[in-house]
């Protein structure tokens, strides 16, 4: 049986910072659009700029934030820098569901024990 505090602390330690940085990076609609485009194909900064009516500097700033959130990675290819989606970081949302599912399994099993014990007395 995993104690209540331990279960939640485990969630916190594993995911807390990574998930917050990732979701903060996703809080902007332009960055979400960039992610959607990168889910279809890898792109250079020039490719991204062509799709938006914003400056190259602004696009670069968005890409840096996405990279800091570990949502994309940048690969050097000859003279070009290719931006690529990192699906692993986004999967953390599903990890959270799994954590909560286990959390409730532990809690409900404890509830069953407690009620059985109390009603037996």
């Amino acid at each position: 049986m995993v104690p209540f505090g331990t279960a939640l602390k485990e969630i916190k330690m594993n995911n807390d910072e990574a998930i917050q940085v990732a979701f903060r990076a996703l809080s902007d609609s332009t960055r979400r659009d960039i992610i959607m485009m990168l889910s279809e194909q890898d792109m250079t900064i020039g490719d991204v700029v062509k799709k938006f009516e914003i400056t190259r500097a602004a696009v670069k700033k968005h890409l840096i934030i996405l990279e800091q959130g570990n949502l994309i990675s940048v690969h050097q290819q000859g003279r070009e820098r290719i931006n690529r989606l990192n699906p692993v970081a986004l999967k953390t949302a599903n990890d959270w569901l799994n954590h909560f599912s286990r959390f409730w399994d532990n809690k409900l099993s404890k509830l069953q024990q407690v009620i059985e014990q109390d009603t037996k007395d």
Partner: protein
């Protein structure tokens, strides 16, 4: 909108009125969950502390003793919204069938980014499906 839900169902030999006490009374909650600061009351906020810090908190949205309890459920990481926990108690075979429904976890974490995560998840599912197909053929 809620796209993801955790549902758990359990059976107890005790009556719904007994199980209800363990979901709503401060001391009995402390035996299996984390002890709130007071018994749960409809329309009131609740807070479960650990090491002097709020661990889980929310509001009791509705109480229909001994059959249904609905409460919001928040932790520090839920920056984008609230999740909701619903408890449903039904008399079954002389005891109780208890169903827990926890909704809105991903939305509470991701907020506006949620449709994007879902779209990407779907994309990966398709990708993995075609990958599996490729491996098995």
């Amino acid at each position: 909108m809620s796209t993801t839900t955790i549902t758990k169902t359990l059976f107890f030999s005790a009556a719904p009125s007994v199980v209800w006490q363990y979901l709503t009374e401060k001391q009995k909650l402390g035996q299996w969950f984390n002890e709130p600061e007071a018994d749960l009351t409809e329309g009131q906020e609740y807070q479960c502390m650990q090491d002097g810090m709020p661990l889980i908190w929310g509001k009791v949205l509705s109480m229909k003793a001994p059959n249904e309890l609905v409460q919001t459920f928040n932790i520090k990481q839920f920056e984008a919204g609230e999740s909701t926990v619903t408890w449903i108690l039904r008399e079954a075979a002389g005891g109780t069938q208890l169903t827990l429904v926890h909704k809105g976890i991903e939305e509470a974490l991701a907020g506006e980014a949620m449709p994007l995560l879902m779209a990407l998840d779907q994309g990966w599912d398709e990708h993995f499906a075609s990958l599996r197909k490729g491996i098995s053929s």
